[in-house]
């Protein structure tokens, strides 16, 4: 039996009044690839951020190699051989890989030996089989490459414990398989791995032991020989009565229905000029019919945001045309588009979706403010009518709030998302454009949102579902279009879905 490498005892952490971790005991043994499994908001990242020194626990002790260790900052954890790859890239976009990896490490501060460090970095990346361009600015590299650089940065500063926080979020299937191979190399070279994920399938493929967390508590530590999908599902979701897939996503019933004869949305040869964060769009055409959920799969930053946005705001089009029910919307403002029965839930629900300080009622009105129903004498807002609509949204979409006057910022992420989607349903809806509607939400909310999308589809309307999670797309989409570098690479029917093939296409393969 290997010795305990990490032993967290009785760790508790609260953010304000919200209890994020409640008396956590967590053990990792030397040489493990240890899965830390739990759904969004279970407290996995919080626990690892405590181990890495970014957060201070309110209570509890950490033992490393049997020795009680106090970790006050990332500097302490790095000195103790802990390295962490965060869910959101923590590289400096303006710097090269070499410059990024050099940062912070010990030694001479008043000189800059880039050439020497470059050699050292190349050695490490060769040793561990993680290749990347060392002298290109980070902002020009893909998510998969950035992750390799972050891993090498941790190894460079001597990490013997590597924490990977949801490393597969922006990886496609082939890249995940590559990562699996690397993990085995790490273990051979004496590095222990903690692998944070909410996907059971990944844990089954990658890990030699698993700790399951739920709502800030550890459910159990499961050894390799006891690992089983059903067991993990049970531990992850407990009494919740949700049928899940191997990726720990809710199963959704997608009945065969007749699609409309004429397309609801026609996109004809559209192009959009690119910029720093997006390649734009290059000559894209597709049709969406009534009664169809049309998925768009892309690695973040390949033009998928442009697809969603240009339908709502066609003025960004450089060339081409967009038709809704046969009518061109090329010269329409967003409000004109909304008036045609289109609605939109943006990618960043907090920054782009809501007025943080506004009430639920005010937020529900957004986008509908010029509809006759909400106007008195064609000029003044009818707040009574608005309140009625807001109450409907709250009821229909299970928004957890005492009333419609509560300020939006006081809702949880899931409730904000429910309110935003509910807002889209306030007026008759022919086409819903939705971008990453489920990111970061717990399974019951994801299931709820999926069901609403399918309901809309079954009623004969259309959904344009832009999503970065291919597993989710494959569950609820009738067709999936793959976007890479602003170009449409292909459209798959449900019968043709192949995770590996679509994934390759997403990275340009």
């Amino acid at each position: 039996m290997a010795a305990d490498y990490i032993n967290c005892k009785n760790i508790s952490k609260a953010f304000g009044v919200v209890k994020a971790l409640d008396s956590i005991d967590f053990v990792v043994k030397k040489g493990e690839i240890h899965g830390l499994l739990g759904e969004n908001g279970a407290g996995k990242s919080t626990l690892m951020n405590i181990l890495y020194g970014l957060y201070r626990p309110n209570k509890g002790e950490i033992f490393l190699d049997g020795k009680k260790t106090i970790i006050k900052s990332p500097l302490d954890s790095i000195k103790n051989g802990i390295g962490m790859v965060h869910q959101i890239s923590t590289l400096v976009p303006e710097f090269t890989a070499v410059e990024n990896i050099m940062l912070g490490s010990e030694g001479e501060k008043l000189t800059l030996h880039t050439a020497r460090e470059r050699e050292k970095i190349k050695e490490i990346s060769e040793e561990f089989g993680l290749q990347f361009p060392v002298d290109v600015k980070i902002k020009e590299l893909s998510a998969g490459i950035k992750q390799k650089i972050e891993i090498v940065r941790a190894l460079y500063s001597g990490a013997t414990l590597l924490i990977l926080d949801e490393p597969t979020t922006s990886l496609v299937e082939s890249e995940f398989q590559q990562l699996l191979k690397s993990l085995k190399v790490f273990v051979e070279k004496g590095v222990t791995v903690v692998f944070i994920t909410h996907k059971i399938k990944e844990v089954m493929e990658a890990c030699t032991a698993v700790t399951v967390m739920r709502k800030g508590k550890v459910q159990a530590r499961v050894e390799k020989e006891e690992l089983g999908i059903e067991k993990l599902v049970k531990l992850m979701f407990m009494e919740q009565n949700i049928e899940v897939t191997e990726s720990a996503l809710p199963k959704v019933n997608l009945p065969e229905i007749e699609i409309s004869k004429n397309p609801v949305l026609q996109v004809k040869n559209i192009s959009i000029t690119g910029n720093d964060t997006s390649p734009g769009l290059k000559d894209i055409s597709f049709d969406i019919f009534g009664g169809e959920i049309f998925g768009v799969a892309a690695v973040s930053g390949n033009g998928e945001k442009n697809i969603a946005e240009c339908i709502i705001n066609p003025s960004v089009l450089h060339s081409g045309d967009i038709l809704i029910n046969g009518e061109s919307i090329k010269n329409n403002s967003p409000l004109d588009v909304f008036a045609k029965g289109v609605s939109y839930t943006p990618e960043d629900r907090i920054k782009e979706g809501i007025l943080n300080e506004g009430s639920i009622k005010e937020n529900v009105l957004l986008g509908h403010q010029e509809e006759e129903r909400f106007l008195k004498k064609k000029l003044f807002i009818d707040w009574n009518e608005t309140a009625l609509a807001a109450r409907d949204v709250i009821k229909e979409f299970n928004v957890d709030t005492p009333d419609e006057e509560l300020s939006m910022r006081r809702l949880s992420g899931g409730n904000i998302q429910k309110a935003i989607i509910g807002r889209a349903f306030v007026s008759p809806l022919k086409l819903l454009v939705t971008h990453n509607p489920t990111s970061g939400l717990d399974i019951s909310t994801v299931e709820f949102i999926f069901k609403k999308l399918v309901e809309l589809r079954n009623s004969g309307s259309s959904v344009l579902f832009v999503n970065e999670d291919l597993d989710e797309l494959m569950i609820v989409s009738d067709r999936i279009a793959v976007l890479h570098d602003g170009k449409l690479k292909g459209i798959f029917k449900r019968s043709e879905y192949d995770k590996y093939k679509i994934g390759l296409m997403m990275i340009g393969g």
Binding site: P74, L91, V92, P93, E94, K109, L110, T111
Partner: protein, 304 residues
Amino acid sequence: MAFITSFIESVLVYTTVYTLASLGILISGRTGIFNVAGEGIMLASASAGFLAAFLSGSWLIGFLAGALMGAFFGLILAFVHETFKVNQFILGICLVIFGSGLSDLLYKLVIGVRLSAPIAPDTLRITIPFLSKVPIISGFLNHDVIVYFMYAATFTAWWFFYRTKIGLETRAIGENPKAADVVGINVSRRRYLATIIGSSLIGIAGAYLTIAITKTYSPDISAGRGFMAVGIAIFASWKPQRAILGGFIFAFIEVMSFQLQIISDKIPYQFFLMLPFISILVIMVVFKKHIEFPASVGKPYSRE
């Protein structure tokens, strides 16, 4: 030739003010602290520096007092921002008002009202053998010690940011404080240091106005130059080597506007006083595409 040389000489005097102040602003800006309090710091340091120089009879003590006053402002700025996460711009404007009030108050408390204005002691002049006699070049090299200090400060700042690891780390904080934090760099401490060091440079620029240029104190002596320095730091894309260039350009425009006031009797002199401010607007618009900002400048950072 003599005219050009003496023209350059006067330009260099103001280049010193602009460059030191904008260096001070860009140093903290590189860690994400946008110090818009430059005007207030210059005013307070102009007053404190002058008083110290006058009372002690030593130019050196005067400049040290100016730097110290700047450091004090930097400490307030960093402390209030890091502790209470107050918006940097609001904080900066408050410090401008504070500095402006403090400068007059200090002077009145110490000197009061006099018929003849008190005069500051002469600042040490350094001439370089031979070179200080060559026309035109001597315009750059026939100066008091603070001008040479400005040259050295610019070079040191460039060397620090682009030739040392600690400088690379400092730039990283300005781009992405989280990236610096996760590799074990103490973001808050670096922000304190940069703001305090930067503000003392602004303080020296302020003291230079009273001790070396006018040799006496008068209210509102910096006359918007602290704000111009913010503009120069932006124009310079927060790079020291470009700050000295920007400093020179605006000093050139300012000195030219003095000359034009004397030459022209048709156009009201207020028009020429306005020139530097108009030119910074024009230059900002023209160079808009070449201006880069550290990504995190102006934004507070906290882990949780």
